[in-house]
């Protein structure tokens, strides 16, 4: 089961902070967002993507690794991965 945690900033859309999805085969982050959009509605996709790419102010992590350092939305997921969708805030 892939476990997905949502930032509080997505609460209005997801109405929950966490969900799980059973994967039968490897999928990409983009495909995961499609699955989440089926569950939570088109609003979720609008919140996360802009012209088909991840919005600048959003970070998606797979087991703590920012997908921007990997293959971005085409990064593949395994059934045991933990996903966090968080605002891009850092530093002092």
């Amino acid at each position: 089961m892939v476990r997905i945690r949502f930032s509080q900033a997505l609460n209005r859309t997801t109405k929950e902070r966490e969900t799980t999805i059973k994967l039968t085969n490897e999928i990409t982050v983009r495909e995961l967002i499609n699955k989440l959009t089926e569950k939570y509605g088109k609003e979720l996709e609008r919140r996360l993507l802009e012209e088909g790419e991840l919005k600048r102010f959003i970070n998606i992590y797979i087991d703590g690794e920012d997908i921007r350092y990997n293959n971005k939305l085409e990064t593949t997921l395994k059934d045991t991965d933990e996903i966090s969708i968080l605002p891009a805030i850092s530093g002092g």
Partner: protein, 419 residues
């Protein structure tokens, strides 16, 4: 009536009540405090500021707090010093510095922490915390102790020993992360999401926190007899310090406390971790840096959240950005110490090295009245800096030995070896 109207998204302009929140629910953009400038203008004066406390809280009318129960360790209102020897060494006519290494926990972070912790208590937060490369952690630890509130501090396990010692002495819960700053920050982001009644100063109360840095501009302007410099240079990590200082000058002009003028903003980042500086130099988007090795731990943020704000401040003000190497940073630490008697950590070395490069390359004009912000104390990074110094020679306690020694030609600085 309050001087704070709301929190406003810096990207899409959506507004929210001024509570514990850092992100726009529409576009995920960063939020900033939206002030009622007419109200502020009616209630502020130079005389009122000048009769205030000798700390950042003399500028309380320009800071996002309602209470007067400030968590104040005596931060700020540091002397604006004319850097006569350094200006000669780098080739400027008129150079000033503010030395924030003399703040209560020895870095500029006391400015932002004092504001954030005061605000957190105003909100009734049950604990405070941060993700930090060291300086902020020490500041949060000290302010938590003064406020009598628990603190949770996430740090990369690789930071300087001197910083870890200082953090721990104040008694917070310190969680060392097997990873870099960006890893610690990501985890802290998830922690505050899970504990909404905790205030992590640089995360969920960030809109208030960043306002503390503006006081560097206010102090400079006040001590320049209520005027702005032509040019300033600041170190960049997330980019928030530089953009806050730039904003601070513009705010003073907006409310008529200083005359209108263009203040050029320039920044510096270490060569090996310079996403903002590189974007300025190449006029491109900011590309996050994943793996970085630099001695400048306190500026080592690969994914700077306010990088685009800093870049915009630099570009719109016609400033520039420097990327000194670690070796140049260490040289600049020596230069500042030996010209002005100020011992700064590698972040300060980066700023001074950046200043030197920008003057050499013509990005800072010789006749510009320039201010350089020294943000942290060298005593925190002794293990790094000691490697550049030659150990003193031991002699027998006789006058003959002393005279012999001082008549020898000595090399005071080792060839710098960077691991």
């Amino acid at each position: 009536m309050s001087h704070i109207i709301s929190l406003k998204c810096t990207h899409c302009g959506a507004e929210y009540p001024a509570t514990i929140q850092n992100t726009c629910y529409e576009c995920f953009g960063l939020l900033a405090v939206n002030y009622d400038w007419d109200y502020i203008q009616d209630h502020i004066s130079k005389e009122k500021i000048e009769s205030g406390p000798n700390s950042i809280w003399r500028y309380a009318d320009l800071l996002p707090v309602e209470t007067t129960n400030y968590i104040d360790l005596g931060t700020g209102y540091n002397r604006l010093q004319r850097a006569k020897h350094l200006e000669k060494a780098v080739g400027l006519d008129e150079l000033y510095l503010i030395d924030d290494s003399v703040n209560p926990t020895y870095s500029f972070k006391d400015r932002v922490t004092s504001v954030a912790v005061t605000k957190a208590l105003e909100f009734g937060a049950k604990a405070i915390g941060c993700a930090s490369t060291g300086n902020l952690a020490a500041s949060v630890g000290a302010h938590a102790a003064r406020a009598g509130i628990p603190a949770y501090i996430l740090i990369p396990s690789t930071i300087e020993l001197g910083k870890i010692t200082q953090i721990m002495i104040y008694g917070p819960r310190v969680i060392a992360i097997d990873g870099n700053y960006d890893d610690a920050n990501r985890l802290a982001n998830e922690v505050v999401d899970l504990h909404p009644d905790w205030a992590f100063v640089n995360l969920n109360v960030r809109p208030y926190y960043t306002e503390g840095s503006k006081t560097l501009a206010y102090e400079t302007a006040e001590q320049l007899n209520w005027s702005a410099p032509d040019h300033f240079i600041a170190p960049m990590a997330s980019g928030s310090l530089l953009s806050a200082i730039h904003r601070g000058y513009k705010e003073l002009m907006k409310i008529g406390l200083i005359p209108e003028k263009k203040v050029r903003a320039s920044g510096a980042q270490p060569f090996n971790c310079s996403p903002i500086s590189t974007a300025v130099q190449t006029q491109s988007e900011i590309i996050p840096v994943r793996n970085y090795q630099t001695i400048v731990h306190s500026l080592a943020i690969g994914n700077p959240s306010e990088g685009h704000h800093a870049k915009e401040a630099i570009q719109t003000s016609h400033g520039y950005a420097a990327t000194p190497t670690d070796e140049e940073v260490l040289d600049a630490i020596h230069l500042l110490a030996r010209t002005e008697g100020i011992f700064t950590e590698p972040a300060g070395g980066t700023t001074v090295a950046g200043l030197k490069k920008l003057v050499e390359e013509g990005y800072i004009e010789k006749d510009e009245k320039t201010v350089v912000y020294i943000t942290g104390n060298g005593l925190k990074a002794q293990d790094t800096i000691m490697r550049t110094l030659k150990q003193p020679k031991v002699i027998k306690p006789t006058l003959t030995n002393f005279e012999e020694l001082i008549n020898q030609t000595t090399i005071e600085k080792k060839e710098i070896i960077i691991a």
